[in-house]
């Protein structure tokens, strides 16, 4: 007779358990999000992460073990990023018309994100690891980790800041933009993509296709701008 413990041991050795857990946790998060009428405060990613981390901590499962299953979901980020070309293509006329506005806003936004993040962390007494790793927090994860490496931060710490920034933007962006009275979908999307990369883009896509297209564009452009600007500025200001 197989005991529950045996089944548990079998399942923990296969990636299926943690793949299923990831999907179920997200469904739970999404159910709450839908139940709260898509109020951005009930961010499904955040809810899913809280559920997952709680389960992993309670069952003493390491992140490495978990990721063996979760990597199948994680992998789809690549093709999904490529797919952002489609909403962008559909809005190409609108994007072309505002090319100058996009470029200027994006560069100013990109500098604001990096400079304010480092300054605030430093001024409030954050350790060196924290404020250095904070610099590329608004940049999509793979690029952000590369930037951190160049300026002497901790790439995995940066990855965490990037995700938390994305969730913060997705939760608080819409209420802030409403409070500021900014109704232009292009401006709203561009700001979400610049400040909170793919997670902000996911939220923008859920709300409006124009916003989604500009958010996807901003995410890509901010990755490029930050990768060029942050290491250069860092060496200029801190001399390494």
């Amino acid at each position: 007779m197989t005991s529950i413990a045996d089944i548990w041991v079998y399942l923990s050795a296969s990636p299926l358990l943690h793949l299923a857990l990831t999907l179920v946790a997200y469904q739970a998060g999404y159910a709450v999000y839908r139940w709260r009428k898509f109020n951005p405060i009930f961010n499904p990613v955040l809810i899913a992460i809280i559920i997952l981390v709680t389960i992993l901590l309670v069952t003493h499962t390491s992140y490495q073990t978990y990721f063996q299953g979760a990597q199948f979901v994680h992998f789809l980020l690549g093709p999904a990023t490529v797919a952002l070309a489609i909403p962008l293509y559909r809005q190409v006329a609108r994007v072309r018309k505002s090319a100058l506005a996009v470029t200027v806003s994006l560069i100013v936004g990109s500098i604001t994100a990096a400079a304010s993040a480092v300054f605030i962390t430093w001024v409030l007494g954050g350790t060196r690891d924290s404020f250095v790793s904070m610099a590329p927090k608004s940049v999509t994860t793979p690029v952000a980790m590369g930037i951190t490496e160049q300026i002497g931060g901790l790439p995995t710490l940066t990855a965490m800041f990037v995700i938390l920034t994305g969730i913060t933007g997705a939760m608080l962006g819409a209420p802030l933009l409403n409070a500021l009275g900014i109704r232009d979908w292009a401006a709203r999307g561009l700001a979400m993509g610049t400040a909170s990369h793919g997670i902000g883009t996911a939220r923008a896509l859920q709300v409006n296709e124009i916003a989604g297209a500009f958010a996807g564009l901003a995410m890509g452009l901010n990755a490029l701008a930050s990768a060029l600007l942050i290491p250069a500025a860092w060496h200029l200001i801190f001399g390494r």
Binding site: T22, A117, L172
Partner: protein, 130 residues
């Protein structure tokens, strides 16, 4: 479905190769997005199957961040130690970035469109989902 997923993966691969070959500081998938965008500009329309596949992926985009997000559990120590500076920085800097970028973009687009007020979004409240 599978053939269009293949297209996305092949563009991602092409993007990875382009990114590695040119040493551009842009990740492969973002290069792949640019390549697919250029392909669509040349082809001048989005094939139905590709549109459906992309929509399937993008409507679940936020799910794809969950595995990486669970990585916060690796850094509880740092989070605890630097809770105030990290928390304040994440919230204030992110809100500041959104406000500055959106306000500048809205202002510049309004200026560019001159006297004619640009096409305003029909719905005032952006919260509803289809």
């Amino acid at each position: 479905m599978v053939e269009w997923f293949t297209v996305l993966v092949v563009f991602q691969l092409a993007g990875e190769i382009l990114s590695a070959a040119t040493k551009l500081p842009v990740p492969g998938p973002v290069c792949g997005m640019v390549l697919l965008f250029l392909a669509l500009v040349i082809y001048r329309r989005v094939p139905d199957g590709l549109a459906k596949t992309a929509e399937g992926l993008l409507s679940n985009l936020s799910l794809l961040f969950v595995p990486a997000g669970a990585g916060v559990m690796l850094h509880f120590g740092v989070l605890q130690h630097d809770l105030l500076p990290i928390g304040a920085s994440l919230v204030v800097s992110t809100l500041l970035t959104i406000a500055v970028t959106a306000a500048l973009m809205a202002w510049l687009s309004r200026k560019a469109s001159g006297t004619a007020p640009g096409p305003k979004p029909a719905a005032p409240e952006p919260e509803a989902r289809s």
